[in-house]
């Protein structure tokens, strides 16, 4: 009976050995399956992004010949939704942004710029907005573009229930074509950020009456869809009839789907793609000295936050959150978790890029372990009765690292943390993230700060994950969101920063940087904080 087992010896020894080698190889080559494709909900938390390998290499090789022409090959995660009303991930927005046009757009510095609308004016105390539209715009199917299309699009965006835009545009009383190329919006109350709202990711103009928006790709945009192979790639060809003279400068754009960051970086190094946006800091650092590549890092308004539920023990005592903030060494976190890309956080969603709203003097107190211990003691926690909590975090980006560092830093103040790393789909699934006491959530970059306040911190807000309810805060947020007086708005935002630093339920350790790398055969690449909004119209092929 033993003899039979015995003959298997070599095989048995060999298989584990092979597996170990396989693990090593997988680890080296397959790195960084950091982030998951589209999120459950568009605006929710941050960095969606890249995941596991999909574009096989032989396909990528097939592509390498076409780099002789002005074709830009971009690595992106696969797209799931293509109807602009439902898009959310970078890749979905990137495709839509080049097939369709926004009414108004945002530049890399978060300024409002014209696109289909050439000029506009507000009247009636900020309740009426009138837009003049560009001339000579045609749809990809050859038909004429008109103001009716814009009115129809926004009517659809605000009246389709269950979409993020239904909430966003609830304030629009009416939208009408008041001329062939003139659209008028009427609001029920003033909104200081209405123009930013109009440039929302979903607000791409469709042809009036479009019913199959998820498949027909009939836009006015700079590129037309030439071929779409789900799970593989989408190929775009320049729109010869584009209404802006001299754009686009590329002949073709191929968006090749990758699920894995490391695989897309390998493809970039191997010359099978030309551009990769969004990647873990570690991979970005490894690209910095590579010949033939230009690396780009830009600061953004996106951030990770740690929040404590404020409506029940232990967070209902504000001293607890204050103690956790005091026990945190933000600079160390910024250096080790973000490798110093981005900016140090200030415990508010209003970061340094919101120049006029951001007050650099208002910063959280520096690390003070004794102070934290004293505050916790006041709140009833000491060595005999330590504060014990579970810190929930999605498994993407630097968040597990952030959790590991916080656990260690807070332990010096006697706080005992268990970490629970969860797949992003589990963390955000069934709104579990809104229920847990202590969690880390990533929030993507937005061009204006009001979004964060209205969805995350105002009493009863949809994604008020900390269950924060503070009358003074609500008033300030309301003022900031509705006043047409710039200085009053700046004042309100500074008040909000002060308030959040003093008693807010959130700890913002850093603001992310957006990282990208492009082949040096292209120029005029200007990445945006939300990578999917990056504009390829000006990118030019210059050859090697």
């Amino acid at each position: 009976m033993l003899g039979t087992n015995f003959r298997l010896y070599n095989k048995r020894l060999f298989i584990p050995f092979l597996l170990v080698i396989g693990l090593l190889v997988a680890a080296c080559g397959g790195g960084a399956s950091q982030e998951r494709p589209p999120e459950p909900n568009e605006e929710i938390p941050a960095e969606s992004a890249e995941t596991e390998a999909s574009a096989p290499e032989e396909e990528a090789e097939m592509e390498s010949d076409s780099s002789a022409s002005a074709t830009l090959r971009v690595a992106m995660q696969p797209i799931v939704n293509s109807d602009p009303i439902a898009i959310s991930s970078d890749s979905e927005v990137l495709v839509a942004n080049h097939v369709y046009d926004y009414l108004i757009d945002i530049d890399a510095q978060s300024n409002i710029i014209p696109r289909l609308a050439t000029e506009w004016k507000a009247s009636d105390g900020g309740l009426t907005y009138t837009f003049q539209l560009a001339e000579g715009v045609t749809w990809h199917d050859g038909s004429e573009f008109s103001a009716d299309d814009v009115a129809w699009t926004f009517e659809r965006l605000r009246s389709t229930e269950g979409t993020p835009t239904a909430d966003l545009y609830a304030n629009i009383e009416s939208v009408e074509a008041t001329g062939d190329l003139e659209v008028t919006f009427k609001l029920s109350e003033p909104n200081s950020f209405f123009l930013y709202d109009l440039s929302d990711n979903h607000a791409l103009v469709l042809k009036a009456g479009t019913e199959d928006a998820d498949s027909n790709f009939n836009g006015t945009g700079p590129f037309k869809v030439d071929r779409y192979s789900p799970e593989d790639r989408i190929e775009l060809v320049a729109n010869e009839e584009y209404f802006l003279e001299g754009q686009p400068k590329l002949d073709r754009v191929e968006i090749i789907f990758f699920n894995d960051d490391a695989a897309s970086i390998d493809a970039l190094l191997g010359g099978q793609i030309d551009l990769a946006m969004r990647m873990p800091t570690a991979l970005f650092v490894s690209l910095q000295d590579q010949p033939g590549l230009n690396t780009v890092s830009i600061p953004t308004n996106g951030f990770d936050l740690v929040r404590l539920r404020a409506d029940r023990e232990p967070g209902s005592d504000p001293r607890v959150m204050q103690a956790l903030k005091m026990a945190t060494d933000r600079e160390a976190i910024f250096n080790v978790v973000q490798q110093s890309f981005g900016a140090i956080g200030n415990d508010t969603p209003i970061g340094p890029l919101y120049e006029s709203y951001f007050d650099p003097v208002l910063m959280p107190p520096t690390r003070d372990i004794d102070g934290a211990i004293a505050l916790l003691a006041e709140a009833g926690y000491d060595a005999s009765n330590p504060l014990q909590m579970t810190l929930h975090t999605p498994d993407t980006g630097g968040r597990p690292d952030l959790a590991a560092v916080l656990k260690e830093q807070w332990s010096e103040a006697g706080v005992e943390i268990e970490i629970s790393v969860e797949p992003e789909s589990v963390y955000y699934g069934e709104d579990g993230w809104l229920e847990v006491d202590l969690g880390i959530t990533g929030w993507g970059s937005r061009p204006y700060p009001q979004f964060y306040l209205d969805t995350m911190l105002v009493s009863g807000a949809k994604w008020n994950e900390s269950h924060f309810a503070d009358e003074e805060f609500d008033q300030l947020a309301n003022t900031a969101g509705t006043t047409v007086d710039d200085s009053a708005r700046v004042g309100a935002y500074r008040g909000i920063q002060q308030l959040l630093i003093e008693r807010g339920p959130i700890l913002v350790p850093y603001f992310f940087a957006q990282l990208g790398a492009i082949s040096d055969q292209f120029e005029n690449f200007e990445m945006k904080a939300f990578a999917g909004r990056t504009d390829f119209r000006d990118i030019q092929y210059i050859g090697s």
């Binding site: 048995r12 020894l13 584990p16 690292d401 590991a404 656990k407």
Partner: protein, 312 residues
């Protein structure tokens, strides 16, 4: 009679009951000291061949590390020295430091305890459960045997890792869940091995003698049959142990059943893989530890087989 001498090595001697069937049948009726000597001589065989000696040494070394590692580790498993983050191996940090400034050498030492405890305990439990089920189903046969074996067949049809992931998805993720997973994944395999030996032994004369003598079923199972199953079980247990190490590391790599900042080697590899080009040492050393331990245990398991065969 090849079975009895081997069983003599492993059977727990119980000399209070005179005229036990096994003893009556056993070709060797030696005194207890002889058995003890045989046991140790079997143990000595683990160092006979260089390859086996290597495997055994590696295994014992890791066991030693698991026992004393934490007290000899220069840093804490989760101690973060930010100023030293991302350092290559040096005199201060033998295996370098990871992205958070943790000493990789210390973490590998701490990890030995994590991995060996989980894999070892899980294997022992699986061997106990599997042996019991194998003995009972093999001896009793009938519908109990049929049902149990078909159930095990269906469990064996699933790849171990897939089954583990399924289970962790259902019972939730914790250290104990990993133990349960190891038990559930390996019990059927051990039970099959035990059962096959039982089937071949159950018709042997000494078992029939015991039956005729009116011994209780428990006595027959654990005193007559179990000793014959022990050699196969020992080999199987050693092999399962090496696979369990790998399973624990794999689950850690996949990030299930273990939470950071645990120094589980698999989790360390997983955390370090994104830094593969920046910090290769943070990836290499925990992976090498897994490889070395798995290979060591396999070589040792092979030695156990050799020993048992040479005793035949």
């Amino acid at each position: 009679m090849p079975v009895a001498p081997i069983s003599a090595i492993f059977s727990i001697s119980d000399r209070n009951k005179p005229m036990a069937a096994s003893e009556a049948n056993a070709t060797i009726e030696n005194a207890a000291p002889n058995r003890v000597r045989r046991f140790f001589s079997a143990f000595r065989h683990l160092f006979d061949r260089p390859v086996t000696a290597f495997g055994t040494t590696v295994f014992l070394l890791f066991v030693l590390l698991a026992l004393v590692g934490p007290s000899i580790a220069p840093y804490g498993a989760n101690e973060q020295v930010y100023a030293d983050a991302r350092q290559a191996p040096s005199v201060e940090h033998w295996f370098g430091t990871d992205n958070l400034g943790r000493d990789v050498f210390s973490r590998v030492l701490y990890g030995a305890r994590v991995v060996l405890t989980q894999a070892g305990l899980g294997t022992i439990l699986a061997v106990i459960c599997g042996t019991f089920l194998g003995l009972v189903t093999g001896y009793r046969s009938g519908w109990l045997d049929e049902i149990t074996m078909r159930l095990f067949d269906s469990l064996l049809a699933l790849p171990a890792l897939l089954l583990a992931l399924l289970l962790l998805g259902t019972v939730g993720q914790s250290q104990n869940a990993v133990l349960i997973v190891i038990v559930v994944v390996y019990t059927p395999i051990v039970a099959r091995v035990a059962r096959s030996v039982v089937l071949s032994v159950r018709t042997k004369g000494f078992v029939e003698a015991a039956q005729l003598q009116g011994e209780s079923q428990r006595w027959i199972l654990f005193r007559e049959i179990l000793p014959s199953v022990m050699p196969a079980l020992t080999v199987e247990g050693a092999l399962r142990f090496s696979y369990a190490i790998f399973l624990v590391a794999s689950l850690g790599f996949l990030g299930v059943g273990v939470q950071p900042p645990s120094p589980n080697w698999g989790l360390m590899v997983s955390e370090a893989r994104v830094y593969a080009s920046q910090l290769p040492w943070a990836l290499f050393f925990p992976a090498a530890a897994i490889a070395l331990l798995v290979i060591g245990v396999n070589l040792m398991a092979d030695g156990v087989k050799n020993t048992l065969q040479s005793s035949d």
